[in-house]
Symmetry: none
Subunit: 221 residues, 4 copies
DNA sequence: GATGAATGAGTATTCATTCAT
DNA sequence: GATGAATGAATACTCATTCAT
């Protein structure tokens, strides 16, 4: 965690440093990310950096925290499933929201992705948080689905959540490859390409596979 | 590709170098992997390394090749689905074989994984191969399933393959976390922990979700 | 150009680094001159060097600049030819001044000499300056000589300047060889050996050849 | 000097090695010239090289010897001044022959040039030979001129030879710069550009300056 | 609290030379 | 006499971190 001095900084200065740090760590892996470059671009002294953060890893962990927090915030902004909203319907929204976040905050997604990958030495507890990822969230969703009667209670809820999670986590990458969308284009159009009919159809197909696979009764095509 | 001199080396020396290189590149990303450390541990001269490989990238690409080749070999050792063998039955075997490989060769899996992540200079064609990953393989499996009548032809075959792929790719990590198995233990017991009843049950559960989701007619529990 | 940090250095430290750098680059060609050796002898950290200079070439260009600047300063210290001072008389002074510089700053002369030879990466503009060398200066001198009526206007002024230049450039080396003067001795006595009668007589002889060759009317011996 | 084994080689092989060595040493300075490259291009083993030459310097010294010998041969092919041929007339021929050699054997000239410059560690005696250069030859020419009565015996013969030498040595470079001739063009046309009227006029001008400067009686324009 | 010069271990790569075969 | 793998010292350059001001 950054030292108190960092949080004492004027808002705009703190924001600038954070912004440049995100840019730096998104653009290259942990080792190649350069503190020198950050402080130079931020116009602060090398020594000042070490008054805000204990070291490079300290900054890095903070960036991961911020990325996770922002993603959470983005997802929670999607209206949660009401007692009468079908979990699969909610999943449609969630996936779109998740993808939109991933592709409109590509640098933060990149940083989280790298962290997953084991890009830098991480403290055990941080590693655990990252590795668990969104699994607990989907676990909770599955339980709601069971309560709503749209998910067969016979399934192991955790395995079901894993299946949700796996699809959710990999769909973005798949869509990009399948539809031959360049990441730059998403940046430019704010992720709209992911809401084109072709993209929606693919998402829909994947969800219906889950729906039929997990559902209480078989769903006719 | 390594130079001929590398392949001319006595088997044990060549194996030692390969072993240490795998260890090195599995332990850190491309930039941080150190040729100096490899040669020092291997007890060979710096110059000798450059008589075996043109440069760092040459070694790296070779490691990826070896990892892919070994994984292929491991998977192909699993009997291919005969004309009358159910694709889902085959998938059970495949997943187990894949997991066994992944966890008995964790460093090679790690290297391939990092390659996916793109933190190193890769020639275009290598990058393409890696990015597509196992998707084409699963696509073919889906088509077999359709031919066998166990997968509903109404599904988009590519999306179905994606779902297979996503489950297949993430299941190993999930199992480890779920069963709280330390990677070291797998190394020690040759992957047997993954064949314990608890592990098999989870794999089975995931496959049955797919089976029901993708199957031609709903499958009763 | 060195970074500001270099010029901020205490005078003696800056001088020491410059001195050792001159020694290094005079003693070998660009490729063989070693930054490592310089920093080791200067007792500074490798990294410090790169805080003073952007890279090896940066230092090298600076050394050339310094050499040229110092030579210019030395030559300008010789009183310029007044309107009524004979160009040949001026040349006598100039040659002596030039030689004195060349032999009391042999390492700087060496560096400039090597630069001429082109064994190092030079920016286009620096290369042009060096390649033209002192030719333009002598061209101007010839024109003064014509104006003074001591050089025959029938000669091609540029060829005449070339002849001046060739003699001027090579005389030093010739004197050393002819008089069997060891370069070290010049260093020790501050170039005085070049002002011994024998040396002056040779210089004089060469100038009189030019004088008669270029002069408006033949000069009696 | 190369070992006897080198001279025992079949003519074409020996010639090939020599050719490639000249190319290599002409193309870069001593340190950058690479034995590895030479042996690779020559298709001989690294070890074989060291059976022909004791080391890199041995080859280098041999190349200098060859260059000097060939230049001498080229110059001597120019008819020597007969008892009744004016030394200055001879000089015209000589300069042209020298320039032609220099520009039709640019790689050898380059090597000799670098040697002059102090590109590599040279044994004392070789250095002396190179430094003296063509001076003794011009000294002899001056003496002939005096005998012929076209050079004033009052001049110091050695200084006169120095003046000849300086002009002779620097004229080529001057011509190239003055006439803006690219070295490549000379290579292409076999040095003919140096015999164009403009080039001849400049050479002539320089010789006439010497002629008047050194001549027994003043020469009218 | 801010500064920024100093540090030095670290990196990949090169190449003349040796020597066992 | 030919071979070519092995050697290791050498190179320029980087960068997180410290600390005196």
């Amino acid at each position: 965690m950054p030292k108190q001095t960092f949080f004492n900084l004027p808002d705009d200065k703190r924001a600038l440093i954070l912004e440049l740090a995100i840019e730096e760590f998104a653009g290259q892996n942990y080792n190649n990310a350069s503190i020198s470059r950050i402080v130079e671009r931020a116009g602060i002294a090398k020594g000042s950096f070490y008054q805000y953060f204990t070291d490079k890893q300290d900054l890095y962990l903070y960036l991961i925290d911020v990325a996770i927090a922002e993603k959470k915030r983005a997802l929670l902004a999607t209206p949660p499933p009401g007692p009468d909203m079908d979990v699969f319907a909610y999943l449609r929204w969630l996936i779109t929201a998740g993808l939109r976040f991933e592709f409109t905050n590509p640098r933060q997604a990149q940083i989280a992705y790298r962290a997953l990958f084991g890009d830098a030495p991480l403290p055990e507890e941080t590693r655990a948080v990252i590795e668990q990822g969104t699994q607990p969230y989907f676990r909770q969703l599955v339980e709601q689905g069971v309560a709503q009667g749209v998910i067969d209670p016979a399934w192991d809820a955790d395995v079901a959540a894993f299946v949700f999670n796996a699809i959710f986590t990999n769909l973005g990458e798949y869509l990009l490859r399948r539809l031959a969308i360049a990441p730059e284009r998403l940046l430019a159009d704010g992720g709209q390409a992911l809401e084109a009919p072709a993209a929606r159809a693919i998402t829909e197909e994947a969800i219906r596979i889950l729906e039929r696979g997990l559902g209480r009764t078989a769903v006719a095509d």
